[in-house]
């Protein structure tokens, strides 16, 4: 069974094919949802809502414009962003200024995907959204600004701060691991 078959089945509102779509893509899309919605229960809610939207809008999907996976990721991201209060982007609390730390390459050696996810989720909301959109999804700042309702410059600034904060956290994590080994 190909992706096209699943799409056709979903267009016919066939529950069997809808379920197949959920089974095949939910792990990947749940990761996307979790990056924007750190609380696990909320992330699942977002994913459920996103799938309902996907079923409703799958007729509009054009395979010539991109992969189904990309199209569904976009829907998940939009659903997650809609749930968040946009005020958190415009009134982000001030984060203390960190110096730009240069990380040693070994920092990444023991980091798994789940660790990275956890690390990203420790970022403040505004930084996390911009970081995800810019770094993981590859959205330009202009588009991020439109999506989040913030200025383009704010997007750039938030991304820069997010990266600095991540480096600090990675550096601190590395120090803790060193201490643990010594102990």
């Amino acid at each position: 069974m190909t992706v096209q078959d699943i799409i056709k089945g979903c267009i016919k509102n066939d529950a069997k094919y809808q379920r197949l779509l959920v089974v095949n893509y939910s792990p990947m899309l749940l990761t996307v949802s979790r990056r924007y919605t750190p609380i696990s229960a909320d992330a699942e809610d977002v994913l459920q809502d996103a799938f309902i939207k996907i079923f409703g809008a799958i007729r509009q999907y054009d395979s010539n414009k991109g992969k189904l996976e990309t199209w569904m990721r976009t829907i998940v991201i939009n659903t997650a962003l809609k749930r968040l209060n946009k005020k958190c982007f415009t009134h982000e609390r001030a984060v203390e200024q960190f110096e730009d730390i240069q990380l040693h390459p070994t920092v990444y050696d023991h980091l798994q995907a789940e660790d990275v996810m956890t690390l990203i989720n420790t970022l403040p909301d505004g930084y996390r959204q911009v970081f995800n959109l810019a770094v993981v999804e590859g959205y330009p700042h202009k588009e991020i600004g439109e999506l989040l309702g913030i200025e383009e410059s704010t997007s750039r600034s938030n991304l820069s701060k997010a990266k600095k904060l991540l480096r600090v956290k990675l550096s601190n994590q590395k120090k803790q691991e060193s201490w643990a080994r010594i102990g």
């Binding site: 809808q18 792990p27 079923f55 990266k163």
Partner: protein, 539 residues
């Protein structure tokens, strides 16, 4: 390492990462959400269907009401033409005989052409005709004081009539005399006496009408002999035939014109009165009175809006004895709270005090579901100090590892279950209302058709698991049922238009609100206090 390295690393790690999840559970939740999202549409349709039905009913009743009201007005305006058939008969008689009476036709068509042309059998109207002109004259004389002038004649009312007639008649009567054909008029004039009770004596100087014309209206018994000969049909053809015919024609014309004149003036007065009422903002009351008169005070109509708040103790019963344990658990976990009802009704009340009432009612029954659960779990806390080693030098080193903690979790789940229905009640009642008393009592009873269209909340299933009603539509499908209604209370009339009432109300649902798939029957007895306000269309 530059910033790009960090970006690439994170992107590679995260982009294709898959979070372990239970797709089947997720699929079930999605289906449940889909059902919940589809439901409102269905409810929406039901709601609008009922609202539409209610609106149509109201519009129909309003239409009926205004139609009746208009009929009443028509009757009122027809009153004069009916009473004035004598004049119309005469005019028709002359129209038949006098082909040149164009002015007559044109005048008739101005306002009362229908009534005039309809009268073709004057003899059948004799009883009415003998009385009505005088009555009509009296009526107009009484109402049109501005037009009356003092006269020396004994009958002042007829003088006023004559006065009104004179000015209008002179001009036309003169014109007619010039074209009247004497021979044809001979055959028709005997019909004249059957019509008027007011005998009009017109003395014309045939071709010099206006300045020398004098008109006198006297009662029948005082009429002179010459004129009395006309009705009997015993008149002889003589040289004065032309004059007689002219007189007869003039009489008919005078009567016609005078009545038209009255009609027009009466209409003017009516319009003036209505305008005055409108300015005084009393116009609605004026209309009420008319409709009140029309319906002969037998029926009055009103709309009511009521709110009922009370309790709704329920009766759960197992369809099979094997479900008694489940029944017990449901009773333990669910508590009846309260019930609200919102009612919009239409009421038709007979003068005897009995009334019929129907409309639409929304009902919501609220319950509480409370489930306390507790469980123990071992939580593994990583990177905790599990040992501290003190060396001989006195230095201490900590040993890190996983720490197992036994934690007791508890959860008190509380949900509020709501059952919604839309009802169509039909009630019969009695109200002791009297015109001179504002306070009255009433008693009513009836049946109601219920449409249970929605259930929300949580219950335990037969396995003892909490399930959401929204996720299990089979348990509470939209279904219809019947209930019995009864109420008795007091009503207080605030003014001619509004009244308020309060009454204890009881509603017993005969049917279970659960579907056949459910193992339990669930019935309610709704007891509450009802308060409402009523708008009275008619007094």
């Amino acid at each position: 390492m530059g910033p790009d390295r960090l970006d690439k690393f994170i992107k590679n790690q995260v982009e294709q990462h898959k979070t372990p999840t239970d797709p089947d559970l997720l699929w079930q939740k999605i289906q449940a959400k889909q059902n919940v999202e589809e439901k409102p549409k269905r409810r929406f349709i039901i709601f609008w269907l009922l609202a539409g039905a209610l609106l149509l009913t109201s519009l129909g009743l309003l239409y009926t009401y205004y139609t009746l009201n208009n009929d009443d007005n028509t009757l009122t305006s027809n009153e004069n033409p009916i009473e004035n058939t004598s004049a119309n008969t005469i005019s028709n008689t002359n129209t038949n005989t006098n082909t040149n009476s164009n002015s007559n036709s044109s005048l008739s068509s101005s306002s009362n052409s229908t009534h005039l042309s309809d009268e073709t059998t004057p003899s059948s109207k004799v009883p009415t005709e003998e009385k009505t002109p005088n009555e009509f004259a009296n009526k107009n004389a009484l109402t049109k004081s501005d037009y009356s002038k003092p006269k020396t004649t004994n009958n002042s009312e007829t003088e006023q009539t004559a006065n009104n007639v004179t000015n209008n008649s002179e001009r036309l009567a003169t014109a007619k005399t010039k074209t009247t054909d004497a021979s044809t008029n001979d055959t028709k004039t005997p019909k004249l006496p059957t019509t008027p009770s007011v005998n009009t004596d017109v003395h014309l100087n045939s071709n010099k009408p206006s300045s020398n014309t004098s008109t006198t209206i006297v009662e029948q018994k005082n009429a002179n002999t010459k004129n009395n000969e006309l009705p009997t049909g015993k008149q002889e053809k003589n040289s004065n035939t032309s004059e007689v015919n002219t007189i007869a024609f003039a009489k008919s014309e005078l009567l016609l014109i005078s009545n038209l004149d009255f009609l027009l003036k009466d209409q003017d007065i009516s319009n003036e009165f209505i305008e005055n009422q409108k300015e005084k903002k009393n116009f609605p009351n004026y209309r009420y009175k008319e409709s009140y008169k029309l319906i002969d005070n037998n029926w009055t109509f009103s709309n009511g809006l009521a709110f009922t708040y009370g309790t709704a103790p329920r009766t759960l019963s197992a369809r099979e004895s094997t479900n008694n344990d489940y029944l017990q658990s449901r009773n333990d976990l669910e508590t009846s709270l309260d019930a609200v009802r919102l009612n919009l009704d239409f009421m038709a009340q007979h003068r005897s005090g009995f009334y019929l009432k129907s409309g639409a009612e929304y009902e919501q029954i609220n319950e509480r579901y409370e489930l306390y659960t507790s469980w123990d779990s071992i939580i593994i806390d990583p990177n905790q100090i599990v040992a501290i080693v003190i060396t001989q030098d006195g230095d201490s080193t900590s040993s890190f590892g996983n720490q197992n903690n036994l934690i007791n979790f508890w959860n008190n789940k509380r949900r509020y279950n709501r059952y919604h229905s839309i009802d169509i009640p039909i009630l019969v009642g009695y109200n002791s209302a009297k015109a001179d008393k504002k306070l009255s009592w009433f008693i009513e009873a009836g049946v109601s058709m219920n449409l249970w269209f929605k259930a929300r909340g949580e219950i335990n299933n037969t396995e003892g698991e909490a399930i959401r009603l929204e996720d299990n539509p089979d348990l509470f499908k939209p279904r219809t049922g019947f209930s019995l209604l009864a109420a008795t209370g007091l009503s207080y009339r605030l003014n001619d238009t509004f009244s308020i009432w309060a009454s204890p109300s009881i509603k017993y649902h005969l049917s279970s609100i659960t579907s056949k798939e459910n193992t339990l029957d669930q019935k309610y007895l709704n007891v509450g206090l009802q308060v409402g306000v009523r708008y009275h269309w008619t007094k």
